[in-house]
């Protein structure tokens, strides 16, 4: 893991895109017919949701590589990705609530995607908690990789089970389709969040990697001379 400045550049670029997309979406995009201005939260909500799944998929990839090949770099990336995933999942839930309250009068609407995201907060948050309690760095890396694999495989299962469960009582839902007029600010924001996320995760992974180095014994000093009798 080097000291190259590219994460800052990428994150900065992401922020610019995000600013552009958000301003466009909030101020200049057309108002949605049925929901009005409240719908504008979609310009951040949908990109955040897309990127949450992306980063958790990346975490899964890191976990698989970490289990197969080991090495601190992949564990550091896993730590960063899971953290980012938890933070973004929380954001998605908050954004979902902000949308639901004025629209349906309730803070939570049990929409399958949103509910799955809430479960993800707890599932991956638990993995962060696990990492706190394992002192041995090797065990920590292996066990959190195992936990990420197990949690990630669960995602489609959680989604379908909630969807079936909810479909029996479905009254409200978050809109799944977005009409064409809204595409551009959405895409810009999606990339904005993506680049910002990549930059932040790269930096966070660096921090994790350096922390690992601090936890482990330094390279061994040169061997002392062996006493009389020799090695055999």
């Amino acid at each position: 893991m080097g000291r190259k400045p590219w994460p800052f550049v990428v994150a900065g670029f992401g922020l610019l895109l995000l600013a552009w997309g958000t301003i466009w979406g909030l101020a200049f995009a057309p108002k949605e017919v049925y929901m009005g201005d409240v719908q504008r939260i979609m310009y951040v909500h949908v990109p955040t949701a897309w990127n949450t799944m992306l980063v958790l998929t990346f975490a899964f990839g890191c976990a698989v590589v970490s289990l197969l090949r080991g090495g601190w770099a992949w564990d550091a990336r896993l730590e960063a990705a899971v953290e980012a995933g938890v933070v973004m999942s929380i954001l998605v839930c908050i954004q979902g609530s902000i949308w639901a309250r004025p629209t349906w009068g309730v803070w939570w609407d049990w929409d399958p995607r949103l509910t799955t995201t809430a479960v993800l907060v707890f599932a991956f948050g638990a993995i962060l908690a696990l990492r706190q309690f394992v002192d041995d760095p090797v065990k920590r890396a292996v066990w959190s990789a195992v936990a990420v694999v197990i949690a990630y495989v669960d995602v489609p299962l959680v989604y379908y089970s909630v969807r079936w469960w909810n479909s029996l009582h479905q009254v409200q839902s978050t809109p799944q389709t977005v009409s064409r007029a809204f595409h551009w600010p959405l895409r810009i924001n999606a990339f904005g969040v993506l680049f910002l996320m990549i930059g932040v995760i790269a930096l966070r992974a660096r921090v994790a990697f350096l922390r690992r180095e601090g936890e482990l014994a330094p390279p061994q000093p040169s061997p002392a001379a062996v006493g009389a009798g020799g090695a055999r």
Partner: protein, 221 residues
């Protein structure tokens, strides 16, 4: 002796020897069911509606105790490590323990059913089907539960970490089990039982294979 048979025999023997602990876990589950009825209030309609949910919540909470217990004897004198060094296949050790845990949890659930019948005023004629659902749900709890129990038994904050890791994970199994149980207790006019049972079976198949594969990484250095 086949390693899986040896492991299962060992785990069943251990469970039999520590059956007093099982009784304590059962009492815990029973008191949970009682508390749910107090929390819900004496409205019999509401109790009937939620009976399935209460049963599974009670079982889930008790399962963390039962699962944690199942690895205490393995870690106290490093008995599990001793077996691995014989050598014994980690996979056999996992499945032996997981199967023993399913049986115990099924017994626990079945034991709580009469209490549910009495407290929440529900019942079903389809008792074998109900036991089948309890078995499948217990299997869903047991697969990841046994793996995480092995992991957290080696850590300081084991009592908090096990439910923390396990509960979000088993949401699909919980939903499937609660729904299937509710349909058996309250009636299934639209024939949805099959799809919920399929969800449970899918969850079980996926996690019984995945956790068996990963167990070695959790218990070996």
């Amino acid at each position: 002796m086949n390693p899986l048979a040896a492991a299962l025999r060992k785990d069943l023997l251990l469970q039999w020897r520590t059956r007093a602990q099982f009784v304590a876990v059962f009492v815990f589950g029973a008191s949970a069911l009682l508390l749910f009825s107090f929390a819900s209030g004496p409205d019999s309609g509401a109790l009937r509606q939620h009976a399935a949910g209460f049963l599974w919540l009670g079982l889930m909470l008790s399962s963390t105790l039962a699962l944690a217990d199942s690895f205490e004897s393995e870690m106290a004198q490093r008995a599990l490590e001793g077996l691995l060094l014989l050598p014994a296949e980690p996979r056999a050790l996992y499945y032996g323990k997981a199967i023993a845990n399913v049986l115990q949890l099924t017994l626990l659930g079945a034991g709580l059913v009469p209490l549910m019948v009495v407290l929440y005023d529900v019942s079903t004629a389809r008792v074998p089907a109900l036991l089948g659902v309890i078995f499948l749900g217990a299997a869903g709890l047991s697969a990841p539960g046994t793996l995480y129990s092995a992991m957290t038994a080696q850590l300081r904050a084991r009592n908090t970490l096990l439910p923390l890791l396990l509960f979000p994970l088993v949401v699909p199994a919980l939903l499937g089990a609660v729904k299937a149980t509710a349909l058996l207790l309250l009636g299934d006019p639209m024939g949805q039982l099959g799809s919920w049972v399929s969800l449970l079976v899918a969850f079980d198949l996926i996690y019984w294979s995945l956790c068996g594969l990963l167990f070695e990484r959790v218990v070996e250095d």
